[in-house]
């Protein structure tokens, strides 16, 4: 509306040369139609470019970057947080025709797809081969792989199989400046691929993705249990997880959502049903699944379930899922607009979170259907409203913010899978302190120094930045950490270089003395072995938090005694070392949180105790493989499981794929990428930590 200047003719012609004249749009209608998505934010672009080949993206990016014109990728536009709105105008990259499934490789269990492939279409193709792709967001019928990667989408199945970032093997990325990169989480060095996932198109554009595909389980059983109250349903869910059963999905719906979705349901529930749990189990044998199902039925009974039904056939199973996945759209029948909140809390806190959410909603006189992924504490209140009623919109916004604050207070996060976009930018202030937000800002600046790619998303902009102090301080870090931090600060002040060694198993496993200018005099060792405490085992939430100097073997032993186990092979070295050296890349799957000290001694904490957390950049992953050069890992929070003795979780210590890394004889050489270097410069401008790596 305020854009009077017309689009630069020269740039337009150049874009036409890249994408073809029929694919560059600057007419009023097209610009208007790309000014919205499924959220409430609005802004018009200056041009829309539709790509017909992935090769066209990089040249277009390069061109626009050089011209200083903002741009952002968009596909289905089903974003719920305004992530695809061009806040600063510029160009929309319409990637919806880049929708080819290029390869399905069942031997290496990978699918190579373009970003515009609709999630469900991939599932249908994979099914022909007896495979599936784990992330299954409720919107899978329309949302695309590109969007799923941008938002780090989850879905019911992620309880067992992890979110998008756990299921991507490699990405082809067009960087903001238009370079093409191929990044995999298994590459030596900091994990740039994982950083891209959930970055909402602010760090680059994915043009090809290699996704992990899984063989379809032999047996799948779906059951539905009805309860007289939401609390009972949640307590049953807690009971199921507490018994060490990991369902393929564990979903809850309250009465309002159920009523809305009823059209799709054939089964009826006993009168007085106020909540249902949808439980799905999978496994290799009928016997195992049937056993688990029996156990679950008993658990539901003790939580006062009023009925428990097992789907008799695939059609009935489909109907149950149609009701769950159609619940959000079904709410669309009840009011013109539905605002889907997306808070996460540690699962044991769910009853509290629900209570608080309900209080908030009634205080604001709002009606909402509650849908939640009960297994991982991800809450989706679907608040009904009419966007034409401005007062109501205000109430919805404020209620949403209060719900998020309550999630943070309960130890959770402000976004499980829908992203921050523009609508939750301000909430980032409540979740993170200024130092962490600055750190995120540094990441963005390293990738996009001119701030042109999907600008003003995720991170609070100047007018959003109200609180400078952290509302909820990080846990006490302990004496050993304090000593270490002080030491780092004083070295930073002196400009002294540091060699982060840990126990010497992973980071400096050759144990040779440093040579040349980095010898003993030039680089002072920093011993982290004093960080040796196991801080907390949350038995209900299945997480363990420990200081980074704790040896892996010791943690395993300790957990075993406590009746738990951890999905890490028997590795030499400390937790911090194993993660920093990426000795075992799949460790990313169980890493939930991390406290880190940077070169200047400032402390940042990332993640937390929830499996799903896409609030801000997944910066934690950068320290996986950072080899101590980005910062010193102080503590880690890891996901645990019940010890295999009691119930088999199906986890077997895998065969080491990266053998050369693990035995330490022939470490894979890490050659920093340009973006590794840029990040290093941002985090440690004086090159004080393990300086030889970026020498």
């Amino acid at each position: 509306m305020f854009q009077k200047r017309s689009f630069d003719e020269g740039v337009r012609r150049a874009l036409e040369n890249i994408a073809g004249p029929e694919n560059v749009f600057t007419d009023a209608a097209e610009l208007l139609m790309y000014s919205y998505d499924a959220g409430l934010a609005r802004a018009k672009p200056e041009a829309v470019v539709r790509f017909t080949s992935t090769d066209q993206v990089a040249p277009a990016a390069k061109l626009l970057y050089a011209a200083g014109i903002p741009y952002l990728p968009r596909i289905a536009g089903t974003n719920l947080s305004g992530g695809t709105i061009p806040l600063k105008g510029g160009v929309i990259f319409n990637l919806s025709l880049l929708n080819r499934i290029r390869q399905i490789d069942t031997i290496n269990r990978l699918a190579l797809v373009e970003p515009g492939v609709v999630n469900l279409r991939l599932q249908i193709e994979l099914e022909k081969f007896g495979f599936f792709y784990a992330p299954d967001p409720a919107s899978q019928k329309v949302s695309t792989i590109g969007g799923n990667i941008g938002e780090n989408a989850g879905g019911p199945q992620c309880l067992k199989y992890g979110v998008t970032s756990d299921n991507v093997e490699r990405l082809e990325v067009v960087t903001p400046e238009g370079d093409v990169k191929l990044w995999s989480y298994g590459d030596p060095g900091p994990d740039l691929m994982s950083l891209l996932i959930g970055s909402e198109g602010t760090l680059g554009i994915v043009t090809r993705a290699w996704l992990k595909i899984l063989e379809k389980p032999k047996v799948v059983q779906t059951a539905v249990a009805a309860f007289a109250s939401v609390e009972n349903a949640v307590s049953a869910a807690s009971g199921i997880i507490g018994a060490g059963i990991v369902p393929r999905a564990l979903e809850a719906m309250d009465k309002i959502s159920l009523d809305a979705a009823k059209k799709n349901l054939k089964t009826d529930y006993p009168p007085g049903t106020n909540a249902i749990l949808l439980i799905e189990l999978d496994g290799a044998s009928d016997k195992k699944v049937a056993g688990e199902l029996r156990a679950i039925m008993e658990i539901c009974k003790t939580s006062f379930s009023t009925s428990f039904k097992t789907a008799a056939d695939p059609a009935e199973r489909e109907a149950l899922w149609a009701a769950r996945k159609g619940a959000y759209p079904a709410m669309a029948r009840l009011a013109p607009n539905v605002m889907v909140e997306d808070g996460v809390v540690p699962r044991p806190r769910l009853p509290e979170a629900l209570r608080e959410t309900r209080d908030i909603l009634s205080r604001y006189k709002l009606t909402a259907g509650l849908l939640f992924h009960a297994g991982d504490g991800n809450l989706h209140p679907n608040i009904l409203f009419d966007a034409r009623d401005l007062q109501e919109v205000k109430r919805v916004r404020n209620a949403g913010y209060e719900i998020l604050k309550s999630c943070i207070r309960l130890g959770g996060a402000i976004s499980g899978e829908h992203g921050i976009g523009v609508e939750k930018r301000v909430a980032m202030n409540w979740m993170y302190d200024a130092a962490t937000l600055d750190f995120f800002g540094a990441i963005k600046a390293a990738f996009d120094p001119r701030d042109l790619v999907n600008p003003d998303k995720i991170l609070p902009v100047a007018q959003d930045r109200r609180a400078r102090t952290r509302a909820f301080p990080p846990g006490f870090l302990g004496e050993a950490a304090a000593v270490l931090i002080t030491e780092l600060q004083s070295r930073h002040n002196l400009g002294a270089k540091t060699a982060v060694t840990g126990s010497g198993e992973s980071l400096r496993r050759d144990k040779r003395p440093l040579r040349g200018k980095w010898d003993g005099a030039g680089c002072k060792a920093l011993d982290t072995t004093a960080l040796n405490r196991i801080l907390e085992l949350d038995r209900e939430n299945f997480t363990v938090r420990a200081e980074a100097g704790v040896p892996v073997g010791e943690l395993r032993k300790w957990l075993k005694k406590a009746g738990f186990s951890i999905m890490l092979p028997d590795l030499d070295g400390t937790l911090g070392g194993v993660i920093a050296a990426k000795v075992w890349p799949p460790a990313r799957d169980i890493l939930l949180g991390m406290d880190v000290a940077l070169a200047d001694g400032s402390v940042l904490s990332f993640g937390g105790k929830t499996v799903k957390n896409v609030a801000g950049y997944d910066a934690m992953k950068l320290f996986c493989g950072s080899l101590g050069a980005y910062g010193v890992i102080l503590t880690v929070t890891l996901r645990t499981t019940l010890h295999a003795g009691a119930q088999d979780t199906g986890y077997k210590t895998p065969v080491m794929r990266h053998k050369s890394q693990a035995d330490g004889r022939n470490p894979v050489e890490f050659k920093p990428d340009e973006y590794h270097r840029r990040l290093k410069k941002a985090f440690d401008p004086g090159n004080l930590l393990n300086p030889w790596i970026y020498d």
Binding site: M33, Y36, D37, A76, L97, V118, P329, A330, R333, R388
Partner: protein
């Protein structure tokens, strides 16, 4: 009735040419409320043919809903900029089918089209509709003249003379290549001569045949087959001697005339009802049948006609759903012959008819019946669409033809006459091993 009484789409003088309220799945709504019900979830984009082929939001169902809403709200005032968005819509209704709130995008798009200056007020459209409404004899004479030219091998001349444009039927002109035999005797005349179909002297009837314009003026054999089927399986019935259902006028922006057509047909229905009691009005072109089922929507502001329109609409049935599956008997198709079924948009999306014709077909054809992939993907015919949006229409049709070819069926059945025109034109060019046949004709052949 609504909190939001805004309408920047057209000024009050235009009101008679518009629908004020729509009868949606969620109840009676103002056009604005119906458009505002779209919450932009995007599910329609998984089925909207124009979006799927182009990947452009601007010509997607969601985009069209948003465009209309922005126009109503006055947030954009340039109605001409919406031209592409609205004119590319096939009105297939696949979006509404998949939409949980059943936002009536086709009705909204038509409202948008009607708001454009001069839309539907061109000379040809006006004259065509007027002739059809008030001077049917002249209309029929002119049409026959066109057909005659065609028979004389002067098809191109007929086209050039703008005969079909003149009649407001550009689609017919565009499709005339596909017309193997243009009838010189129209169905109405034939049926009026059939003594068995006369209402005079009858006390009751199970059915009354409604002859849509397609079977009446183009595919007379379809109407004949339908009547034969009805006689065979539903007992005695009558011919309604009806008028055009009004869809043509409605789709070309002439709501007032559409109401006139509807009234004429309702009156005829009431007359017959007085003499015969209750009966089903059966039509054999899904587009017309679907429109007649929505007659009430034309009269939401008219207390007198609204209940009468409703009563009429409730009596209407598509031949696709009218045949009693349990009573159907017949011989299967010849060995090696296979048949598939194309869901005409106004049957599946417009009326929700999917399983009925399949069940009846399976009973007769058995294993010879094969499912068509994407059977509810629009054929691209859509009235004059093939004529006005040639490039898009062809791509839409190509996908349909490809799917038909993949079944290797020799016959593809459809329930709407504009599908027959479009499918046969496409098949002739790209997959001549198959031909499109009306459901009635096929069923009549096998149950005779």
């Amino acid at each position: 009735m609504t909190k939001y009484d805004i309408n920047e789409l057209y000024d009050h003088t235009q009101e008679p040419f518009h629908l004020k309220h729509l009868l949606t799945d969620l109840g009676e709504r103002t056009v604005y409320d119906a458009a505002a019900q779209c919450n932009r979830c995007g599910y329609c984009e998984t089925v909207c043919p124009t979006y799927m082929l182009t990947g452009r939001e601007t010509i997607s169902a969601r985009g069209r809903n948003q465009f209309l809403r922005l126009l109503i709200e006055g947030k954009t005032r340039d109605i001409d900029s919406a031209r592409e968005s609205f004119s590319t819509c096939l009105l297939c209704g696949a979006c509404s089918s998949v939409c949980y709130a059943k936002v009536p995008t086709p009705d909204l798009v038509l409202e948008g089209r009607r708001s454009r200056d001069g839309y539907g007020r061109g000379f040809a459209a006006r004259l065509g509709v007027d002739l059809l409404l008030n001077r049917r004899g002249v209309f029929e004479l002119a049409l026959k003249a066109g057909y005659l030219l065609k028979r004389l091998g002067l098809a191109a001349l007929a086209g050039k003379l703008g005969f079909y444009d003149f009649l407001g039927l550009p689609a017919l002109g565009a499709a005339q290549d596909a017309l193997k035999h243009a009838p010189l005797k129209f169905l109405r005349k034939i049926l009026l001569k059939d003594p068995a179909l006369k209402p005079e002297g009858k006390k009751e009837a199970a059915w009354a045949y409604f002859a849509p314009c397609g079977p009446n003026y183009v595919f007379t054999e379809v109407g004949a087959a339908t009547v034969a089927l009805l006689k065979r399986f539903l007992g005695p019935g009558v011919f309604t001697d009806n008028f055009c259902c009004g869809l043509l006028a409605y789709n070309y922006g002439r709501v007032t005339e559409a109401r006139e057509f509807a009234k004429k047909n309702i009156l005829r229905f009431e007359e017959l009802k007085k003499a015969l009691g209750g009966f089903t009005v059966v039509g054999d072109c899904s587009s017309c049948v679907a429109f007649m089922k929505s007659y009430e929507q034309l009269f939401t502001e008219d207390e007198e006609w609204r209940p009468r329109a409703k009563a009429f609409a409730e009596a209407v049935k598509d031949i696709l759903e009218a045949l009693p599956t349990d009573k159907i008997k017949g011989r299967g198709p010849a060995d090696g012959e296979t048949v598939t079924y194309h869901d005409s948009c106004r049957a599946c999306h417009g009326q929700g008819i999917r399983s009925e014709p399949r069940e009846t077909l399976k009973k007769i054809a058995g294993k010879a019946f094969v499912e068509l992939p994407e059977s509810d993907w629009c054929c691209g015919g859509a009235g004059a669409y093939a004529f006005t949006q040639t490039a898009l229409s062809e791509r839409i049709a190509d996908r349909k033809i490809r799917n038909i070819a993949s079944t290797q069926a020799g016959t593809v059945l459809a329930g709407a006459t504009s599908c027959l025109l479009q499918l046969n034109a496409g098949l002739k060019k790209k997959y001549p091993s198959a031909r499109a046949v009306h459901y009635s004709v096929y069923m009549d052949n096998l149950t005779r």
